[in-house]
């Protein structure tokens, strides 16, 4: 068998083995090289998988049987259009963040724990990739736990003492979420006798016990909603994002919640079926209401934050509202909007948090613990860190949804989906909520570009190139995917069509 046939396994295994190696070697520099190489290799594998899926006919699935055990007994890895799309996002962000991270980590994490950081990062990456690629429900849970546990450690590595409490909170909530998830999977296993997701979906249609199915759906929905920080289950997120090291925030913001959305889509459309979830139950209405709450409440809260990281963390909660709003429409356009936004928002938010990492480095004094990036520090910063500030503004434009940026594409499909269902008030709501995004990006612009430099500003340097280049690659990507949409919209549309076909 050639290497190409084992790509699905390599996708997960490569980052996974880099983690124990990093721990064994116990050296920050070596661990950096190892884990970064693992992440780039995973990215290469994701791209190769993407190309393989591209060769299949529309809606085709690439399957891989672990240990050659045929499903439903063995564990199956399944790669379709949507899977490979998410794989590319996750592994690509990881590779860029790791490359970027060296300088930032030096400052934000104690030297002795560097190897631990890299090991945990690799585990987290492997877990997220595993969740995405596996076709087995229990395996999803296992990988979910791997990535979550690694995440708790990563957050706790932040030098700020509040990182510990943030991590603890996330641990409690994350564990509850995972428990709910496994309860839901347990119900489904009892009902169908299988753990293979595709198989589960096929057998569930013949199940006569709707009450148990509904319980499973409720537990899964709440469990996953916790992980994806759906309003009002988002309270773990702002603290976690604020106090974690910058690189961790960037990576989590771009991937962790997005993978949870992916799991939700998989279960809704692959297992329960569109007709149960969206047509027989009031789920679309609930989701619509919660999404709107997220759009307005979270974005509004974001406007009033003083800590830059916290502001963009709340903005993430708001932006997740767009993704779930798209789901609630239960239409091709809506689902396309969700999938595209999952990608575009991931790219833009990762860029912003990476640039904030550079900003923290720039405004901090050598040797001192990293400062909290508040608006006080921002006054007149654009003159001293022009590239960092410009990058944040450009990526911020994507959050607003300005034409020519990725965010516009997602908004466009959301508006189309709302108009299709003749819900004009929703169009208004979507557009109004983007005004809130304008407000917080504007606050940044005002502080960075129009406030005078304070007299005791101290020495501020532009971030080093090794940090700027990966961040700017993401900034450029958030613009690029606003102009050339063949990759994002092309695959999202494809995926949405095949999901809705299989769901009916």
């Amino acid at each position: 068998m050639s290497l190409a046939q084992h790509l699905p396994a390599l996708q997960v295994v490569l980052p996974l083995i880099s983690a124990p190696l990093a721990v064994l070697l116990r050296h920050g520099g070596v661990a950096f090289l190892l884990v970064t190489a693992g992440a780039w290799a995973a990215f290469a594998a994701a791209v190769a998988l993407w190309l393989q899926v591209d060769l299949l006919p529309a809606g085709g699935v690439l399957t891989y049987h672990i240990g050659n055990w045929a499903p439903p007994w063995g564990i199956e890895y399944r790669v379709d259009r949507l899977t490979s799309f998410v794989l590319v996002l996750v592994s690509g962000t990881a590779a860029l963040v790791l490359t970027y991270g060296h300088a930032s980590i030096e400052r934000e994490i104690a030297r002795a724990s560097h190897y631990l950081y890299y090991a945990m990062f690799a585990l987290c990456l492997a877990g997220l990739l595993g969740i995405t690629i596996t076709g087995d429900a229990f395996n999803v849970f296992v990988f979910l736990e791997i990535s979550s546990l690694a995440t708790y450690v990563l957050i706790a590595l932040g030098r700020d003492r509040r990182a510990l409490t943030a991590s603890y909170r996330y641990l409690i909530l994350g564990t509850i979420g995972a428990t709910f998830f496994v309860i839901g999977v347990g119900f489904l296993y009892l009902l169908t006798g299988t753990l293979n997701i595709a198989d589960m979906g096929a057998r569930l249609r013949d199940v006569e016990n709707p009450r148990a199915v509904l319980a499973a759906l409720a537990f899964l929905t709440v469990g996953i909603s916790l992980k994806l920080a759906l309003f009002p289950l988002h309270q773990w997120l702002p603290n976690a994002y604020t106090h974690a090291p910058s690189t961790v925030t960037a990576f989590l913001a771009a991937t962790a919640t997005k993978v949870s959305v992916y799991v939700l889509i998989r279960f809704y459309f692959g297992v329960f079926g569109e007709s149960l979830v969206f047509q027989r139950l009031p789920l679309p209405e609930i989701m619509l209401g919660l999404s709107l709450l997220a759009l307005f409440a979270a974005n509004l809260i974001a406007v009033f934050q003083d800590n830059l990281k916290r502001m963009f963390a709340y903005s993430s909660v708001g932006q997740i509202g767009y993704i779930t709003l798209g789901l609630s429409f239960d239409s091709v356009h809506g689902l396309t909007a969700s999938i595209v936004h999952l990608f575009n928002h991931g790219v833009a938010k990762a860029a912003i948090f990476l640039l904030i990492g550079g900003l923290v480095l720039g405004i901090g004094r050598p040797g001192a613990p990293p400062p909290v990036p508040t608006f006080k520090h921002l006054a007149g910063l654009a003159r001293r860190m022009p590239l960092t500030c410009l990058g944040i503004v450009l990526a911020g434009l994507s959050l607003i949804g300005v034409p020519g940026t990725g965010g516009f594409i997602s908004k466009w499909y959301l508006v189309l989906a709302a108009m299709e269902q003749r819900q004009y008030w929703l169009v208004g709501a979507i557009l109004l909520s983007s005004l809130l995004a304008v407000a917080y990006v504007w606050r940044f612009v005002e502080a960075a570009y129009f406030r005078p430099v304070p007299g005791d500003g101290g020495v501020v340097r532009e971030a080093p190139l090794v940090m700027l280049i990966p961040a700017w690659i993401l900034v450029a990507a958030s613009i690029w995917f606003g102009l050339d949409t063949s990759l994002t919209v092309g695959s999202a549309l494809d995926a949405a069509q095949s999901l809705l076909r299989s769901g009916t």
Partner: protein
């Protein structure tokens, strides 16, 4: 030609790309580039043949970002011409941001005129909003900064209307093309509303006189030319003959006159007069006959030239004296003869005096009203013509250059500013004497002769007697240091005040709640205050316990809704 046009760049993208590269240049190279860019783009425009030239696919829609016909060529030409002359005028501007921003803005405006599909129009439309805001910012004053915030707010709102309209139109008709629309769906109403916001139509006219005068001495020249005239262009293409526009246009005309009469700031007078002049064009579009549409297009063309000339003379005064208020100016003709002369020529042109460009374009609109037997409209347009002379034609030069002597003796501006003004003054007169080249560019064939004895004599009567009215009533027109309230009061005073009241109410309610809780149980109240008050509702972090409680609540809610629903 067909083999050649593939090599010709998109004029708008050429200008925009140049604008992005300009900040890298210094000194003479920069000056040459500033003058050469619009010229190159203009040459590119005229090398392009008529027809749809670019087709691309985006988001699965066919887009045509480059299509040329007579109407688009006319508007693109005047935009590029003015970008060039404005660039010459602004050559000595200290802000290095302004000209690149203005070229981005101008390029986007040209892009709108050359786009034949709604999506491209919208994309360039938003680009224009960004460019114009940057022009406003580059003035660098706190007033410009706060005004720009209001400006951005209005234009974002307008952009959202347009966005919703475009999305709805495409979804409803399945057609991305930008052509004549009927007001038969919410989407087309939204598009019309989005266009009208940029035209300065009521009730949002106030953004224009609020923001434009805060730009730098050269910035307002650019601002006056593109946003409103692009709106005229899209109305011409999308909504010709929509009767509603007649009444909107007439309202704008008289709004502009009345507010300008009350105004003290010379640049705000000219800003109100932009609304007034765009009103003439909008009325012409509403009448909708070929002659009226020709008139609207021609008037947009000539108006860009003479309004820029007026604003350049005002800009020269501002640059020299640092003053904008009529009550602090006067008697400047002593030391600024060239500026005075150019200001007067612009004032005569805006008043449509015979032998100026305004005469040959404005009369097309009123003639069209007469031809359509719209007596009321025609009478109002005639009164408005007199009113234009009153508020812009005499009032502006009189209070700035003559009236009582303010004692200021600033010199005429440097050569680059003088040449820009003289060039525009020449064009205003030349088009007035020889209108045929302009008529040849109009979208429909012109069979109109402006210089008949009857037309010249009646126009002179109208204008001279309104001049008489001005001097007779001069005592009642004396300038006072005042402003006149407008709809922007709603978002500058009422909105914030309401928000303040609401905030106070919420705070009071919360205080009451906290007091009530203390009454319920001292310990519970103290606990809440200790845990919640310091951070406030928006900033606090939740304890793990309350977060878990929420999770349970949501699960219960889901289960309940599933089983009951």
């Amino acid at each position: 030609m067909t083999s050649l046009h593939g090599l010709v760049p998109h004029p708008a993208l050429l200008l925009i790309a140049g604008a992005l590269l300009l900040p890298l240049l210094r000194g003479r190279a920069r000056s040459v580039a500033i003058l050469a860019l619009p010229a190159l783009a203009l040459a590119a425009l005229w090398l392009l043949p008529d027809g749809v030239l670019w087709r691309v696919h985006w988001l699965g829609y066919p887009l045509t970002p480059l299509a040329v016909d007579r109407l688009s060529r006319l508007f693109a030409s005047i935009f590029l011409l003015l970008a060039g002359i404005g660039g010459l005028f602004a050559l000595r501007q200290e802000s290095r941001l302004e000209i690149p921003a203005a070229y981005l803005y101008a390029g986007a405006a040209v892009g709108v005129t050359l786009a034949a599909d709604l999506i491209s129009v919208f994309l360039f439309w938003e680009c224009m909003a960004i460019g114009s805001t940057l022009v406003l910012w580059s003035a660098g004053t706190p007033a410009a900064w706060t005004a720009s915030r209001r400006y951005v707010g209005v234009h974002l709102a307008g952009g959202m209307l347009l966005f919703a309209g475009v999305a709805g139109q495409i979804l409803g008709t399945g057609d991305t093309g930008f052509h004549v629309m009927r007001l038969d769906s919410p989407a087309s109403w939204l598009i019309l509303a989005g266009f009208l916001v940029n035209a300065g139509a009521p009730p949002l006219s106030a953004w224009l006189p609020d923001a434009y005068p805060e730009a730098s001495w050269s910035g307002m020249v650019f601002l006056s030319a593109f946003t409103t005239k692009t709106a005229v262009y899209v109305l011409l293409r999308g909504f010709p003959g929509t009767e509603l526009l007649i009444w909107i246009g007439l309202f704008m005309i008289f709004y502009g006159i009345v507010y300008a009469l009350l105004e003290n700031d010379m640049r705000r007078i000219l800003a109100y007069s932009i609304v007034n002049q765009v009103g003439f064009m909008v009325t012409g579009i509403g009448i909708g006959s070929e002659m009226a549409l020709n008139g609207a297009a021609a008037h947009a063309f000539t108006h860009i030239l003479y309004k820029a000339l007026l604003l350049m003379s005002a800009g020269a005064v501002l640059a020299a004296t640092g003053r904008r208020k009529c009550s602090e100016l006067g008697g400047l003709f002593h030391s600024m003869p060239v500026t005075t002369l150019c200001g007067i020529i612009g004032a005569l042109a805006i008043s449509a005096f015979p032998l100026t460009s305004g005469f040959v374009s404005k009369s097309l609109v009123s003639q069209a009203a007469a031809d359509a037997q719209l007596q009321g409209v025609w009478l109002l347009l005639a009164a408005a013509s007199a009113g234009v002379f009153l508020h812009a034609g005499i009032k502006f030069p009189w209070f700035v250059f003559f009236q009582k002597d303010s004692g200021l003796r600033p010199a005429d501006p440097p050569a680059s500013l003088r040449w820009a003004m003289l060039l525009l003054a020449f064009l205003c007169i030349a088009l007035g004497i020889w209108p045929d080249p302009l008529y040849a560019l109009l979208p429909y064939p012109v069979a109109y002769v402006p210089y008949t004895a009857a037309h010249v004599v009646t126009q002179l009567q109208l204008l001279l007697f309104s001049g008489l009215a001005f001097f007779v009533m001069l005592d009642h027109l004396r300038r006072t240091p005042t402003i006149t309230l407008d709809f922007d009061w709603l978002w500058r005073v009422a909105g914030p005040a309401l928000a303040g009241v609401a905030r106070a109410r919420v705070r009071a309610a919360r205080a009451r709640l906290a007091r009530g809780l203390t009454g319920l149980g001292r310990r519970a109240g103290a606990w809440i205050l200790r845990n919640r008050a310091p951070d406030g509702l928006l900033l606090r972090s939740w304890s793990s316990g309350s977060m878990s409680l929420w999770v349970m609540l949501v699960l219960m809610a889901y289960l309940a809704l599933y089983y009951l629903g």
